[in-house]
Symmetry: C2
Subunit: 302 residues, 2 copies
């Protein structure tokens, strides 16, 4: 059986079955270090999956650092160091690597996170696997499922810009790529949110995936679609290419904004409430879909 | 300018130039945590560079865990946790992933290192990027250049088996692949060695690369080629395929044995001394070469 007939979540479940025990894993691994948790996360971006080799390398570098730091942000933490395992084909131009590094360092420098090295290898494709290590005070850690009934659901930023960029790019409009890569780590927001909120995750795979993960046995996110902050580009792309706005805003992801539940708003916009009516609802109907999953699509036309 | 015209070490130098400051980096990154150093390392293995997709997946998994833990061993440390960023094409069979995981876990279980998860993504090729995190008492850390004049140079295990395996495989003998993958992390040896020795590194890129890195302004490794413990397969391959034994034993690497300098032998075999006559010498002549460097060769026939 090949991976595409299973999909990402089943493959992950199978991996944990083989391991025999699911470890403390949320947006990051978290390790008890006495009075704080150490946070460790890794995120891979590869040619053909996340970018093409003719895209702007500086922006790819910014994107790469962002999506790694974003997992630290989602748990309320502060990043401490960054490392990267980088692999390239021989054919690659040194200028691409230099621009990539500059972009990556721009983001790291914004948060005073030192780059500590990593691994450099030859490969058939260009790929980067990042490691971000950070920390969070024990009482401020935010977990995906630490929701409480009656809390509001909030989101930083807007939805659907990256999805819109993807479909623009797929339709031959090169600037679409820049929208896909235009993300920023919500570290500062995450630090503030963690003073009050206990449940949070980042939108790597879309708001619909937050509904899947941010729940417990009885309660979950009850989201009103009409209250969502949707980027204007998503409206345009939805109309121009006849793609459902619901899919662009909730099913694709890549925004790397934070969704959190809290007794009160700290940043962003209220989009729902924690209760038994779990789902994203539009005019009384539940929107289908569970967010982005790998092995179902990619940039490559396979 | 493309990467193959520069070579791995120049590319790494260029990266540190862009970063502006070279961080504490040896076989691992090491971070001051009060009474100990935290050790962090990452190593990538990819299809076409380190293995082919028709090789034994369980052995690839063992190899992958080994080369990551090996960097902890080289600094005298104990591994604490392991993570992996894994990426696969859709076409990949679930059985390959399962066998890979089993092999990886065999090695981790030997050292009671829990697998803590990581990242799973779609990609054009199969690749794995590992993260090993460990610790070492401050007084027991071993660094590549912490050599002292007059110390002996020692090596665990034998040289050239993996190089021999590579050339067998290149010449159509499939079992060669098993020799390439047959490595084991020298964690227990590293712990013992670190009670006495201060300088150590692992042989990922060959003994000749240890000569490049294990030195200071005045002193380095003075190694007698005739004293080297060379695997019998290297002698056979050298003869059968007319490849210099010196290259197989010192220029290729992949053994993941430990080389260390010490006032006395702890494990393995004495192969030289720390003094001003830096190099690997055979019958009065210095052997050429500085060990394996990426972007100069790989499994792919490019």
């Amino acid at each position: 059986m090949n991976l595409s007939s299973l999909g990402e979540r089943e493959v992950i479940d199978r991996i944990w079955e083989i391991v025999g025990k699911k470890e403390n894993y949320d947006d990051c691994v978290y390790l008890d270090r006495g009075n704080y948790y150490q946070l460790i996360t890794t995120d891979f971006v590869g040619e053909g999956t996340h970018f093409m080799d003719n895209w702007n390398a500086r922006k790819i570098g910014r994107f790469f650092a962002t999506i790694n730091l974003s997992d630290i942000a989602a748990m309320g933490g502060e990043p401490e160091i960054f490392m990267a395992s980088m692999f390239f084909p021989k054919r690659m131009d040194l200028g691409f690597l230099e621009d990539f590094m500059k972009g990556m360092l721009e983001i790291l420098n914004d948060f005073n996170v030192p780059y500590k090295g990593g691994d450099l290898k030859e490969s058939r494709i260009i790929g980067f696997s990042g490691i971000a290590i950070g920390k969070v005070e024990k009482e401020r850690i935010m977990l995906r499922n630490a929701i409480n009934k009656g809390e509001g659901v909030y989101i930083t930023g807007e939805l659907g810009k990256q999805a819109a960029g993807y479909f623009l790019w797929k339709n031959g409009i090169e600037e679409g790529a820049d929208y896909i890569l235009d993300v920023y780590p919500r570290i500062r927001e995450g630090r503030e949110i963690s003073k009050i909120a206990r449940a949070c995750m980042d939108l790597s795979d879309g708001l619909a995936s937050a509904v899947v993960f941010m729940r417990n046995a009885n309660y979950g996110l009850d989201i009103d679609f009409n209250s969502l902050p949707i980027h204007k580009l998503a409206y345009e792309v939805s109309e121009d290419y006849d793609i459902p706005l619901e899919y662009l805003a909730t099913g694709f992801g890549g925004e790397y904004e934070l969704v959190y539940t809290s007794p009160k708003k700290i940043f962003g916009k209220e989009i729902g409430v924690v209760d038994e009516e779990i789902g994203i609802w539009k005019d009384g109907n539940k929107i289908k879909g569970e967010g982005y999953a790998h092995f179902s699509k990619a940039l490559d036309k396979a």
